[in-house]
Subunit: 840 residues, 2 copies
């Protein structure tokens, strides 16, 4: 397997956890709690000295309100519970030598994450300025949620994190993605009961039907049932115990309920109970792994086990003051953020804060110089087993480049057959190439899909693998022929899950792709935003995070060919979301391959990319191929190219009009329009864009073509540019606002009109069809001179529509058109599709 | 109650369903199946006549391949199951006189929806060209998924639909929204087992904790467990019966399993079993309603009942050919779309199609002239009880305008105190106004929130209502003080649920608002797209759908003031999604009130609006108020205004620079920059935009200001325009691309930089702070002349940042600034906040 073997996975402990380790956990818990309160409240005097030397006055003074931050921001509520769990998971890892990572669903437990990595030593490795003394501790406290400091979540800045949790809902998707093909990994996934109310999390539980206990790792979900969200109780905290139990059993889990913190139980007793429980749960997991391995060894089918999970019911804000200002605080939504808002301003609140901090007995936790006492951390794991140091949480250190096939082997033979030859589905060619990427990289490449892998034309993968499915088979059923208990394709009808799985997979150092109907990728807009933000922060500020693989999304079944579906399935606007992240970090790419060979060139590019999101907008219907692979690669290198063979003018200045395009259907229509224009005497310069951001204003994008080059391609504004764009016209306008000659651009795009109708009718409705484009071009050149021709084309559009209404399919002039260069016979055209599928 | 009383709700049937009604249901089922197959396959000869007169040749011929559509598109798979359910629900409605609507989660059951409304007569009322004869039937078949025809889903074009289902996941959110404050309504919600894998649907089940059986209606979920999605089995179809039962019991439902179609059971026997089951389920529902009413009558608390639901397990594609081309088709994913793809091209497939159609015995269903036989529909409900005619499914016919309070009563007294007076939270003032909207309209207004109603400053509502919650109370618990079994605020930590509930509520004729952290509204991007598409289709083409209330979203906790949170919570890009729907239908609005009085003016506007989505981007932190309500109303009327009092030049031509702005924080910074510029001798024209789409290119938006007016406001391009925009700069560039003088615009926006930091630091990071704006303005005017001043402001920015790093809060020059006109004393400034909350 490609994932590193760390520790000694899945070994049960022979004895019960000794008391001294429980005492270590308790010290960890108190220390992490102290560090958490300190991060939220203190700017100086981190050890609460009575003889603190004030940094401004140089005078000695007692711990006082001067030491409290002016602005108190952060979140306490979930933090002590997370600290408790972190302590116990550290103990589990150390005792068992278990390879494990920790996903923190309640992102608002940020102080718990930084405290953890401070205690396991990784924080100081990444940030040497945080020295192991009083000064370092003060810096650690002060930088939290501070100007020039660090954010308040379990953010990329924190070692050990692969899941910020700033937006809620994706913990289980990420966790299950992380354990796929990672059989030695335990992923502890702490889930807030607030987060559990989101949709994505609610379906995330079902992921256990899509993993294999033998070939994948194990997710241990811990529902942190602390009762309240920002301002309300949570649903799962208030339903009956019977309902809660049934809920998890219904989803295939064996729930173990743990309750603590609501009475005066001694903390060591609580630790004893939890340590025993997590040992029991871990033993159940070891049994599952053992049974799965045994079944494989004896040739039996692996069948889905009942996975354990833990319901961890504790008070919100556990260990903070029970009441503040007479109002219930511990075990209340009032503990969510900063319970003592006036700790700086009033002695009364300060006194409470001081007492709260002292309740953790800092003298037992820190040396007098501020160093953390050895007995606080001695029970913790060492080396790569540390939560902050596990390479799975810094996937770039694991990642190796994919072994890619040679795209040449898949090329559609346009060089021999002529530009515009054949009828082939670009997405299917992309899929055949992807099959062979998978074949060469079976350990660290996966394909995800919302029930659309075949519909989106990635089904060649089934020649080398199966769809992983552990929800039950019908043995005598040919419906199940592509399913298997272990396979590299994963399908659930949830874009959230596809995106989340792939994020978890690439964040742990692997590669992959998921596909979506173009319109419904908007379901995960917010997830993409969050992944981009993770990457932007990484690229800008976090050297120690090594580059992870690009997150690839094939967007097919696109707006122009939603044949079985209607208006609801027509929305090409995802690119506009990406554009908001198009900045100096280069974390987004939008590719619009015009044909199959370009799709191959793009595939080579995206499967080698790092630290980015790649959106590939690519049709799945048979269409001509226009360029050879060499031409495609050359175009992709610059992102945009003039197509001499399609142009009657060799420069924009010589042309009457520049016809530009981006997108497969829009390129086809632009070419057909150019063909129409041939007979009119109008001379055309033809330009195609594949890498959309390369035409972005060069001042905003240092990888875009220069203004000089832009002018060479599109002209200087003296010649009109007719631009046929796949998506909404505004996108182009926004990109080129400051380019030379931008006022000469006339953009056609999707005009938000459609229904379940024919391909031509979709184009007609949005004035993207060849006749509309050609007529517009003539109008731009000389409306008066070409008025007869314009009228005739517009009349033909109407005729073609009437034909479609009468006959129910499109006019032959639309469906039979080929570019004049295409040399193939009709038989060759239809044979082209078969040719490619046969490559290896 | 405002919702109309239809029929005689919640009456049990004294006797069992008589056999003749079951025969009626079976005829309905066969007829709807015939009509569905006909829609997918037939273009002519809808009665399969052997003596059909060909429309082209005029000759008589047999039913043949000529009658099959050239392009076969559509979805059969889920349709027969929906037809079955529709038949039984029709019977239930008719027998009980029950007010009911039907939500079709599997949107791909489109042919079932049109067949239903054809059979209940409503389709012909809306589309008189569909006559009750052979010609009408042919038109009905041919228009389905046809050029110039109708879409393939249960789309707005179909009477009785309020839920297209084109995108999956929202059936339960919409259903529960529809029944809120609608106590006589039964909402039958058919949910596909594919849809059940989505996140939003998975959490939608929990909605039963948020409704009240006495004051709300009842949702009856029917899980259509037909086993397969596009290409895979479904998870819920493959887990064990025990797990499936536990799953629903865990979520508070009593599941009733119904299995049919897998053996040779006689259809009447199947109908008998289902009719008995749905009677039993309906009786359980009547008991729940009765018990809830009794508890209210006796002053007892309503407690959450266990609601029934039905698991309807049938073969996918039920009643289609069992095998086609040797492959299993009925009860397979192969039945998903068009099972007989070659019915036009091969006699073999045509023969199968003919046999399939004949299996429904059309002679028993249609008169010889093509009219539907009376005995097919005689059992169905009449009048408004018809599924296609229920006014809840055409909410505009129920909707009445809100009784609005006078915004004057909430005005911040800027007219007396001076522009820029006070420190007040605009969102809170909006919330106080909203409280009084609610107070005047308790029957048909609701507030939804993802646990953020208070955080987003709408908490004044709790003075007149409570949060509706039916998941259990702690009687002795002050944490629960704002909760009640019935209330007008609904909170679940799921943006999907908030959006979906409000959609269901407004689609059934009511009004409301939900609020979101600005960044996380992206969670529902796709839902907003779908609602916009519903409205666009309605506005363009569907006269008989009456206008429904605007869907209002308060977007606060915005990018510039995410004090407790970091980079993950900073994304103002939702407006870019809306812009893709900014077309002649006017279904989107983006409002950026600069202050509290403008927020009031916007509130008046949005609460009176129809057929649109209103996004209100509005801060929740204390800030000055700049304009009187009269000024705000005047600005809102045009959407943009020059602020003379803030300008030193009275026209753009007289100014050295136009300072323009949109958004509250950006307006504050632009004003402060203008104040800085005062001392330099630079003359400024100050312009504020509140209704963003009013500056959109006038050729794209007939409600935008004219180019002439645009030039009056912003100049003709000879004077530079510095534009401070709340969101990403590209948005402005895209909007004004064709406006006169657009090249003179220099836009500052969010540059995708941030962390958990101070307000000034967020502005500094993105060059939106007053000093950066003022320095840029000077540079635009005369960089050389003002170089000293520019350097000094830039130095001050750095100083202010160093101050923040040292002290942990912002420099007083930033926090203490007030516009020179503001006359109030410091005491008045802070008192202003209290003043408003006291209105009535």
């Amino acid at each position: 397997m490609s994932q590193p073997v760390i520790g000694t996975p899945w070994k049960k402990l022979p004895d019960i956890v000794p008391d001294d380790e429980l005492e270590g956990i308790d010290r960890y818990w108190r220390c992490a709690n102290y560090l958490s309160v300190g991060q939220i409240y203190l700017r100086s005097n981190p050890l609460m000295r009575s003889d603190f030397v004030d940094e401004k006055t140089g005078e000695t003074r007692d711990f006082g309100r001067e030491d409290v931050k002016h602005r108190l921001v952060g979140h306490w509520g979930t933090t002590p519970g997370i600290n408790f769990l972190m302590g116990h998971v550290n103990r589990l890892i150390a005792d068992h030598g278990q390879n494990a990572i920790f996903l923190m669903g309640p992102g608002h437990g940020g102080p718990a994450g930084t405290a953890q990595s401070l205690l396991d030593g990784t924080y100081r490795s990444c940030y040497p300025e945080i020295t192991d003394d009083e000064a370092g501790l003060q810096r650690f406290f002060r930088r939290f949620s501070y100007p020039g400091g660090i954010p308040s979540h379990f953010a990329p800045e924190t070692p050990g994190s692969i899941h910020e949790g700033g937006e809620l809902g994706y913990t289980l998707s990420h966790a299950y993605g992380a354990v796929m093909d990672n059989p030695s990994l335990l992923c502890v996934a702490a889930i807030g009961d607030g987060e559990a109310e989101t949709g994505p999390l609610a379906t995330g539980w079902q992921s256990n039907k899509l993993v294999n206990p033998a070939t994948d790792g194990i997710v241990l979900p811990i529902l942190h049932l602390n009762g309240y969200k920002i301002a309300n109780p949570t649903i799962l905290a208030r339903i009956s115990d019977e309902e809660l139990d049934a809920f998890f059993r219904g989803m295939g889990y064996a729930p173990h309920v743990f309750v603590a913190g609501f009475d005066d139980e001694d903390h060591l007793s609580i630790h004893r109970r939890f340590a025993d429980l997590i040992e029991q749960v871990f033993a159940e997991i070891c049994d599952i792994k053992e049974e799965a391995a045994a079944r494989i060894a004896t040739g039996k089918t692996v069948s889905r086990p009942t996975y354990p999970m833990i319901i961890f019911r504790t008070p919100k804000g556990w260990t903070c003051p029970k009441r503040i200002d007479g109002q219930k605080t511990e075990d209340s939504w009032r503990a969510h953020q900063v319970p003592l808002t006036s700790a700086k301003d009033t002695h009364e609140h300060f006194r409470v804060l001081r007492g709260w901090l002292r309740s953790y007995a800092p003298d037992e936790l820190f040396e007098s110089d501020g160093a953390i006492r050895a007995e606080v951390t001695s029970f913790m794991p060492k080396g790569e087993l540390r939560i902050g140091a596990n390479p799975n949480a810094n996937g770039g250190v694991i990642r190796r480049d994919l072994r890619l096939p040679d795209a040449r082997d898949y090329e559609v033979p346009v060089a021999e057959k002529g530009h515009g030859w054949g009828m082939i589905e670009a997405a299917r060619v992309f899929g055949v190439f992807t099959r062979d990427v998978l074949k060469r990289n079976m350990d660290d490449f996966r394909i995800f899909g919302p029930d659309e892998t075949a519909s989106n034309r990635l089904q060649a993968a089934y020649e080398v693998t199966r769809k992983q499915w552990d929800a039950g088979f019908y043995a005598d059923e040919d419906n199940d022929m592509l399913l298997a208990a272990s396979g590299k394709v994963v399908e659930q009808l949830s874009e959230h899950q596809c995106e989340g799985f792939l994020e978890g997979y690439v964040l742990t150092g692997r590669h992959g792709i998921w596909s979506s109907y173009e319109s419904f990728v908007h379901v995960v807009d917010s997830m993409i935003n969050q992944h981009c933000k993770w990457l932007e922060a990484t690229v800008r500020e976090i050297d120690w995070r090594k580059p992870i693989s690009g997150l690839n999304i094939l967007l097919t079944s696109h707006v122009w060919r939603q044949d079985h579906n209607g208006f609801s399935h027509q929305d090409p606007g995802f690119v506009d979301l990406l554009l908001n992240k198009a900045n100096e970090t280069h974390v987004v790419n939008a590719y619009y391959p015009a044909d199959a060979n370009m799709a191959l060139a793009v595939a080579e590019r995206v499967y080698a990319s790092t630290n980015c999101v790649n959106a590939i907008f690519c049709g799945k219907q048979p269409a001509p191929t226009f360029q050879s692979l060499d031409e495609a690669r050359a175009e992709l290198a610059e992102g945009v190219a003039a197509w001499d063979w399609a142009s009657s003018a060799q420069t924009p200045a010589e042309a009457d009009v520049v016809v530009a395009c981006c997108g497969d259907v829009s390129t086809l229509e632009a070419l057909a329009a150019t063909d129409l224009l041939r007979g009119t005497g109008v001379s055309v310069r033809f330009v195609n864009v594949v890498d959309l951001l390369k035409i972005q204003n060069a001042h905003e994008n240092d990888r875009a073509v220069s203004d000089m080059r832009f002018t060479e391609l599109f002209g200087d504004g003296t010649v009109p540019v007719l631009f046929a764009f796949h998506a909404y016209a505004g996108t182009i306008r926004r990109l080129i606002w400051n380019r030379p000659g931008h006022d000469a651009f006339h953009v056609h795009g999707y005009e938000e009109k459609g229904s379940t109708t024919t391909p031509f009718d979709m184009l007609r409705l949005n004035r993207m069809d060849r006749w509309a484009l050609a007529a517009h071009a003539l109008r731009l050149v000389d409306e008066k001179r070409f008025s007869t021709q314009i009228a005739s084309w517009e009349a033909f559009r109407e005729e073609a529509f009437r034909f479609a209404v009468d006959e129910g399919y499109d006019h032959p002039a639309f469906t039979d058109w080929v570019w004049p260069d295409a040399a193939g016979s009709a038989a060759e055209l239809s044979a082209a599709q078969l040719t490619v599928g046969d490559n290896e």
